[in-house]
């Protein structure tokens, strides 16, 4: 139990460190790689928090597909971020106020991991007790995903399909030829 707690705390501290590094580093290639590390760490955290399915998804999606997409986009755009003109004080103030409100509100949340947490008392006992007699399958997550909440999942599938079509629509327009800066003495390129 204590070991679990210690791993949880260590992973959370790592996550904060990597997140700060992602925001601060100016080389976007490094940021993409740090983002893969961040996803892998959060997959480990999900595994510690008993969410095997979520950990599997986060490891495959966050560390795999997301990183590939970021790298593909960096090949298409610039690799270096412009230097920020100092710290943005207004943004920092907004973020600090929001965070302070949320930390204050977090004081009212029930303790982490308590079995009498309101989140555990609503439909969760039903799923835990009835899944096997209703569906005959041991994985409750699959049963809830495709059985009890299948209309919800159908919506998600169509969201993914729509996003796929949006990417196709955005990137199937043939690129126009980029206007080059005319060199001195060279006739201007009018295309």
């Amino acid at each position: 139990m204590v070991i679990e707690f210690l791993i949880d705390i260590a992973l959370l501290m790592f996550l904060v460190t990597v997140a700060i590094a992602i925001v601060r580093v100016r080389d976007l290639f490094s940021a993409a790689m740090l983002f893969a590390i961040y996803s892998l760490l959060s997959a480990g955290l999900f595994a510690i928090l008993d969410a095997g399915d979520v950990a599997l998804t986060e490891a495959a999606v966050g560390a795999g597909i997301s990183t590939i997409l970021f790298l593909a986009v960096l090949a298409l755009t610039s690799r270096e971020e412009h230097p920020a003109p100092g710290t943005n004080r207004l943004a920092l103030a907004v973020v600090t106020v929001t965070g302070a409100c949320l930390i204050y509100a977090a004081g009212d949340l029930p303790d982490f991991g308590a079995a009498d947490n309101p989140a555990q008392l609503h439909v969760a006992p039903y799923y835990t007790e009835q899944t096997y007699s209703d569906m005959g399958i041991p994985n409750m997550v699959a049963a809830v995903l495709a059985g009890y909440r299948s209309i919800d999942t159908m919506g998600e599938v169509f969201v993914i399909l729509t996003a796929g079509l949006a990417v196709v629509a955005l990137l199937s327009v043939p690129p126009r030829r980029r206007r080059r800066k005319p060199e001195p003495g060279e006739p201007e390129d009018n295309t």
Partner: protein, 134 residues
């Protein structure tokens, strides 16, 4: 150990603040999308933390286990992660098109072409400092 009861939630708030700062203060669009992903992950961690029961187990029925963590947040977050990568891809596609049209994905340059650095060209005719649009 009483103070540990809310430790996960505090870290979630800190991660959310970092992501939020990247979204509103950073000018680069790829960086903004990364900030959005950080923000999103903090919400995921919050949901999974709320579903955890100390001493519980992964919600796959087995013999000899009586306490299972709540499967409902797992389902919600599982789908949210995949939808998150789909929306990330859409955002990145938009960034690619903006780069092709304007030659940049930096906010300050899009607002004012005079901030453009040498060697970058734009399709709409701005070719850096002092150039007039066609």
């Amino acid at each position: 150990m009483a103070w540990l009861g809310h430790f996960n939630y505090w870290i979630v708030v800190i991660l959310m603040m970092i992501g939020f700062y990247a979204v509103i203060a950073r000018g680069n669009m790829v960086k903004k999308i990364m900030g959005l992903n950080l923000f999103q992950t903090s919400v995921f961690i919050m949901f999974i933390s709320a579903g955890k029961i100390i001493g519980g187990s992964t919600p796959v029925l087995r013999e000899g286990v009586t306490v299972y963590s709540n499967p409902l947040p797992h389902v919600l977050i599982l789908t949210a992660i995949v939808v998150g990568v789909a929306t990330t891809a859409t955002g990145l596609a938009l960034a690619v098109r903006i780069r092709e049209a304007y030659g940049t994905i930096e906010d300050d340059e899009l607002v004012d072409p005079a901030n453009q650095r040498p060697g970058e060209t734009r399709l709409d005719g701005h070719a850096g400092k002092g150039d007039t649009p066609r």
